[in-house]
């Protein structure tokens, strides 16, 4: 196994770390919208901290190793349209993810800091957070399509 193979396998593992966090958050968003008590929402928020490191490490490594792969490869270049598209989608995904994180972190603080039950449940049921999350999922899917089909390559 050469350098390129190792970098590629770690790049893919990093992408799977992001995907794992997205699945975790999707389950929390879906179940959270049906939560009917403050205790239940607090229980769900106990799972959320696992997603943060997965997303952070995954995002950092996919970008870093993706650039390393593009530089190391004879087949692809950093300025290939599909590579540039991936970097743009990565940045968009990061921004949408940041906004989603801010929304749900505020909700978690309310739930754990003695906020009113109606307000916490209202935030979880509101479409704002869910829409942001699903937008992130959509961008991740576009990234996956770009990585596999490599349009223009």
């Amino acid at each position: 196994m050469g350098f390129y193979d190792w970098m590629l396998s770690l790049h893919i593992l990093a992408a799977f770390a992001i995907a794992a966090a997205l699945v975790l958050y999707t389950v929390l968003v879906v179940v959270g919208r049906r939560a009917d008590t403050l205790d239940r929402t607090r229980l769900l928020f106990r799972l959320a901290p696992v997603g943060g490191p997965l997303i952070a490490v995954g995002m950092g490594l996919t970008l870093l190793l993706g650039i390393v792969l593009a530089i190391d490869s004879d087949e692809f270049q950093l300025w290939d349209p599909w590579v540039m598209a991936a970097i743009l989608l990565w940045a968009l995904f990061a921004e949408v993810g940041r906004r989603t994180g801010v929304y749900y972190t505020e909700t978690q603080k309310l739930a754990e800091g003695g906020g009113a039950e109606a307000e916490v449940l209202g935030r979880l049921r509101a479409s704002t957070g869910a829409r942001l999350h699903y937008a992130g999922l959509g961008i991740f899917l576009l990234l996956l399509l770009d990585m596999i089909f490599k349009p223009g390559a």
């Binding site: 893919i12 593992l13 799977f16 179940v31 799972l47 996956l144």
Partner: protein, 148 residues
């Protein structure tokens, strides 16, 4: 332009394979997280969430991943390769053995859910889900690195 982005069959198969694997691993990570977080919880709510995630997320992911793996295998004519590379063997072993373990976890967890609370059977399902996370991380590494 359209010709440039027209997908090959193998790419479509690969997309489903990767997507299924991501849903499978994500479902297992979520189930393991919920199960471990709810290990000492009396009501068993998180243990039941772990079981539902295994059933409704990880299992469908396994089915899509495994069917698409066969599709990729045929599209790439890998059955015509005289000496099968190690990564294909690793892929088959982890997918099939892992699939069997997931089915065992679903049966144990299903009985545990019927009995109510966060019993030993639900905990056994959580242990299997945690073990499967490790198994499939190795599988993902092998599919990317393709060791010979």
């Amino acid at each position: 332009m359209l010709a440039a982005i027209r997908p090959d069959d193998v790419d479509v198969a690969l997309l489903f394979h990767v997507l299924g694997a991501m849903i499978l691993l994500g479902g297992l990570v979520t189930a393991a997280t919920a199960g471990i977080a709810g290990w000492r919880e009396d009501t068993g709510q998180l243990q039941r969430l772990a079981y539902k995630t295994l059933l409704l997320v990880a299992f469908p992911g396994l089915v899509v991943m495994r069917l698409a793996a066969e599709w990729v295998y045929r599209e790439e004519n890998l059955d015509a390769v005289p000496e099968e590379p190690a990564w294909i063997g690793i892929g088959y072993i982890t997918a099939d053995l892992g699939g069997l373990l997931l089915l065992v976890a679903l049966v144990l967890g299903g009985i545990g859910v019927r009995r109510g609370g966060g019993g030993a059977l639900l905990k056994a399902a959580v242990v299997l889900a945690t073990l499967l996370v490790a198994v499939y991380v190795v599988a993902v590494w092998a599919m990317g690195a393709k060791p010979t």
